[in-house]
C-alpha cells in the first residue's frame, strides 16, 4: 500500500461522502430541485424579445391609409392595440401608468400628406424604461411602414418607388432564425446551474469538516490530501452528471431547443467544465472557516459571473475592461462552447480555444487546491 495514495482509502472517503450527501436531504433536494426550477423559469418565463405588447392608438381619421398602417403595425406581432383614444392626453396617462408600452399616433392629416407625397409622419412613443422591451418592436417598424404605404398606393407609384430602391439590405438570422430566447438561455442555463451547485456544494462539503471539527480527526488519520480531495470531488461529479442529463433531456423534449452538434464533444467539454468548478469550490473552501463563509464566497463569485459571462447580457456589448474580466470565469468559456456546439454545430476545431481555456482552469485550480490544502492544522 502506497503511503501517498491508496484506492481503498479513496473508496472509504467516497462512500462516507455519499452517505453524508444522502442524509443531507435539503442539500440533496436543492441539487436536483435548483436545475428543474431554473429550467422552468428561464425556459418558459423569460423572453428577451417580447411580443403582443399593449399599445394605444391615437387617431381621429378612419381613412384607408390609416387603417392599412395600423393593421401592418399590428401584423408585426409586437403590438396589440388595446386602446383606441382620440386625445394625446389620455394616451399619455396610459403609457405613464404602464397600462400600455406604446402609443402610436396617426395625425389627422396623414392620408392627405400621403396622397400629396408630402412626408407623412406617424409618431410612435415607446416606454423605454426597459430598453429590451422596446427594441424589437421598434426595429421592425421602418420596413413595415414603408411597405404598408406602398400597398395603399397605386400601381404606378409602386413601380416608381421600387426603381428608387437601389440598396437592399438582406439580414439572415443564423442558427436561430426566429430569435427564440430559450435557444440562447437554456444551453447557458446548464452552465449556470452546474456552476452554482458544483462550486457551492464542494466548498461546503469541505468546510463542514473544518466547522464541525472533524477535519482535525481526518488529518490525524492516515488519509493523504490527494485522497481527501478526490474522495470529496468524485461524488459531486456524479451529481453534476445527473444534472447534465436532466437539463439536456428537458431542453430537447420539453423546450425543443435544437441540438445540431456532437453530443460527445459537448459531454467531454461539460466534464472538463465540471472538473474546473469542483476544483474551484475546493479551493474556495480552504480559506473559509464556516459553511456560511464558503457560501458567501460562492455567491461573491456567482453573481458577477451571471452578468459578465454573457449568460444574461451580450458579451460583446460590454466595455473592453469588462470583457477582460469576463475571461476569468470558466463559465464564459463554457458558454461559448455549449452555444457553439448545440446551436451552431461547431466541431472540435471550432471550440478549441475555449476548451483549452477550461483546461488551463483545471490545471490552475488543481494546483491551487493541493497547495492550499491543510496537511496540518497550522
Amino acid at each position: 500500500m502506497s503511503a501517498m495514495f491508496s484506492f481503498r482509502r479513496l473508496m472509504a472517503i467516497i462512500s462516507k461522502e455519499s452517505i453524508q450527501m444522502r442524509r443531507d436531504r435539503i442539500t440533496f433536494a436543492m441539487v436536483l430541485g435548483v436545475p428543474l426550477i431554473q429550467l422552468v423559469l428561464f425556459g418558459f418565463a423569460i423572453n428577451n424579445d417580447p411580443k403582443g405588447l399593449p399599445a394605444a392608438l391615437v387617431t381621429t381619421s378612419q381613412d384607408h391609409y390609416t387603417r392599412a398602417m395600423v393593421s401592418a403595425i399590428e401584423n408585426t406581432g409586437y403590438y396589440r392595440f388595446d386602446h383606441v383614444v382620440a386625445s394625446a392626453a389620455v394616451a399619455e396617462r396610459l403609457i405613464q401608468s404602464g397600462a400600455v408600452s406604446f402609443v402610436v399616433t396617426v395625425p389627422s392629416d396623414f392620408a392627405r400628406r400621403v396622397q400629396r407625397g408630402d412626408h407623412p409622419q406617424i409618431l410612435i412613443e415607446a416606454d423605454a424604461t426597459d430598453p429590451s422591451v422596446a427594441s424589437g418592436a421598434i426595429s421592425t417598424l421602418g420596413t413595415v411602414a414603408a411597405q404598408a404605404l406602398l400597398r395603399g398606393q397605386s400601381a404606378e407609384a409602386l413601380a416608381a418607388e421600387q426603381s428608387t430602391a437601389a440598396l437592399e439590405v438582406v439580414v439572415h438570422r443564423l442558427y436561430n432564425p426566429e430569435g427564440i430566447t430559450q435557444y440562447n438561455i437554456v444551453p447557458g442555463l446548464l452552465g449556470v446551474i452546474l456552476q452554482l451547485t458544483m462550486v457551492m456544494m464542494t466548498s461546503m462539503a469541505l468546510t463542514r469538516e473544518t466547522e464541525r471539527g472533524t477535519m482535525e480527526n481526518l488529518l490525524a488519520m492516515p488519509a493523504s490530501p490527494l485522497e481527501i480531495m478526490l474522495g470529496k470531488v468524485l461524488p459531486f461529479l456524479v451529481i453534476g452528471g445527473v444534472q447534465v442529463v436532466a437539463v439536456l433531456t428537458a431542453a430537447k423534449f420539453l423546450l425543443n431547443v435544437p441540438f445540431v452538434g456532437s453530443l460527445t464533444l459537448l459531454l467531454v467539454s461539460i466534464f472538463i467544465f465540471v472538473l474546473a468548478l469542483v476544483l474551484l469550490g475546493y479551493a474556495f473552501s480552504t480559506p473559509a472557516r464556516t459553511q456560511i463563509q464558503a457560501m458567501q464566497l460562492t455567491f461573491f463569485f456567482f453573481l458577477p459571473s451571471l452578468l459578465l459571462t454573457g449568460f444574461m447580457f451580450p458579451y460583446r456589448g460590454m466595455p473592453d475592461w469588462a470583457q477582460v474580466l469576463g475571461e476569468i470565469f470558466p463559465l464564459t468559456h463554457f458558454l461559448r462552447i455549449i452555444r457553439a456546439v448545440m446551436l451552431k454545430g461547431a466541431d472540435l476545431q471550432g471550440v478549441a480555444t475555449p476548451l483549452a481555456a477550461l483546461m488551463i482552469f483545471v490545471a490552475v485550480f488543481t494546483l491551487l487546491a493541493l497547495m492550499r490544502f491543510p496537511r496540518t492544522l497550522d
Binding site: 500500500m1 503511503a3 491508496s6 481503498r8 482509502r9 473508496m11 472509504a12 472517503i13 462512500s15 462516507k16 452517505i19 453524508q20 442524509r23 443531507d24 464541525r212 471539527g213 472533524t214 477535519m215 482535525e216 480527526n217 488529518l219 490525524a220 488519520m221 492516515p222 488519509a223 493523504s224 496537511r375 496540518t376 492544522l377 497550522d378
Partner: protein, 303 residues
C-alpha cells in the same frame, strides 16, 4: 526507548507563544497525565506530537519517528482522541467505525469486534449525533484504538462525562496500558491525575513540573497546615495577605493553609490561631494545593 521524547518545543500563533520550550518524555507502557489550566498549551503540545502542527522550534521523536518529517508514520501508529467529539454526527456508529477501519486498511472483522465490545447491537445504526456524551466518548475511544496504536493521545477525554462512565473509561485505559499501550492524557481533574503513573504540569506554555504524583508534591516543597474550629471564617480572613501565607482554602469544616516558607507560615498560623481560638496541626500537601500554587505563580509571571 521512550514512546515520546521531545525537547525544546516551541509553537507560536502570531506573536503569542503557546508552547514555550517544552521538553518531556513518556516511557513505553506508561500512563502520563498532562495537566494545566485552560489555554495552557496542552492541546497544542499534543497536536505537535501527533504531527498535526509543525513546531516552530525544537525536536521530537514519537514512537521513534521524527515529528517533523515522519508525520504520516506517526499518524498510523498513534491514536488521537480530540477534545471535541470529531467523528461524523450524521453517520451511524457502525458507519463511523467502518470509515475509520477502511482508512487504516483494517479487516472488516475489527469493526465487528469493536461493535461487540461497545455493547448493545441495537445502537449500531444510531446516528453518532444523537448519542449521549458518555456514548460519544466510548465511540471516539473505540475508533481511536481500533487500529491497535502503540501510543494513545487523549485530549480531555472525560470532559462532560458522568462519574460512572469516567470510572469505566479509566479502567479501560489501565487495562490497555498493562497490555503495553502508552497513554498521554490531558485532564483538569485531580482524581484522574492521581490515576496516572506520571504527570506533567504545564502553564502558559511552560512545563513547570514532571514526575510521579508523590515526586511533584515533594518537589513543590510546600508546607500545609489544617485549622479546625468554630471561627475558621474569621481565621481565613485574618490569614489573607499575611507573610508566608500563599493559599487559604476552606475544605468543609477545616481550613487548609499552604505556603512555600514553612517557618513564616507556621508563625502566621500560630498567631491567628491564638487570636481566634481555632486548633491547628500540620497536614499533608495535596496535588491540588500544588497546582493552585503553580497557577498563582505563573499568573504572577505573566503580569
Amino acid at each position: 526507548m521512550n514512546a515520546i521524547e521531545v525537547s525544546g518545543l516551541v509553537k507560536r500563533f502570531g506573536d503569542k507563544t503557546v508552547v514555550d520550550h517544552v521538553s518531556m518524555s513518556v516511557a513505553e507502557g506508561e500512563i502520563s497525565g498532562f495537566l494545566g489550566p485552560n489555554g495552557s498549551g496542552k492541546t497544542t503540545t499534543i497536536r505537535v506530537m501527533c504531527g498535526l502542527l509543525t513546531p516552530d522550534e525544537g525536536e521530537g521523536r514519537v514512537l521513534d519517528h521524527d515529528i517533523r518529517s515522519e508525520g504520516l508514520r506517526i499518524k498510523r501508529e498513534v491514536g488521537y482522541m480530540t477534545q471535541k467529539f470529531s467523528f461524523y454526527e450524521d453517520l451511524s456508529i457502525e458507519e463511523n467505525l467502518t470509515f475509520v477501519a477502511r482508512l487504516y486498511d483494517l479487516d472488516p472483522v475489527s469493526v465487528r469486534d469493536t461493535l461487540e465490545d461497545l455493547g448493545p447491537t441495537s445502537r449500531r445504526k444510531q446516528l453518532a449525533g444523537t448519542l449521549s456524551g458518555g456514548w460519544k466518548q466510548r465511540l471516539a475511544l473505540a475508533a481511536c484504538i481500533m487500529h491497535r496504536p502503540k501510543l494513545l493521545l487523549l485530549d480531555e477525554p472525560t470532559a462532560g462525562v458522568d462519574p460512572k462512565a469516567r470510572r469505566e473509561f479509566w479502567d479501560e485505559i489501565h487495562m490497555r496500558a498493562s497490555a503495553g499501550l502508552t497513554v498521554l492524557v490531558s485532564t483538569h481533574y485531580m482524581d484522574e491525575a492521581e490515576r496516572c503513573h506520571r504527570i506533567h504540569y504545564i502553564s502558559y506554555g511552560k512545563l513547570l513540573a514532571s514526575g510521579s504524583v508523590a515526586e511533584v508534591i515533594r518537589d513543590a516543597a510546600l508546607t500545609t497546615f489544617v485549622m479546625e474550629g468554630d471561627d475558621i471564617t474569621r481565621a481565613a480572613k485574618l490569614l489573607q495577605g499575611r507573610n508566608g501565607v500563599d493559599q487559604v482554602a476552606p475544605f468543609g469544616l477545616t481550613l487548609h493553609v499552604v505556603g512555600r516558607d514553612g517557618v513564616a507560615l507556621e508563625a502566621a498560623v500560630a498567631d491567628v490561631a491564638a487570636e481566634t481560638g481555632v486548633a491547628y496541626k500540620q497536614g499533608s500537601t495535596s496535588l491540588e494545593d500544588v497546582f493552585i500554587q503553580f497557577m498563582g505563580q505563573s499568573t504572577d509571571n505573566m503580569a
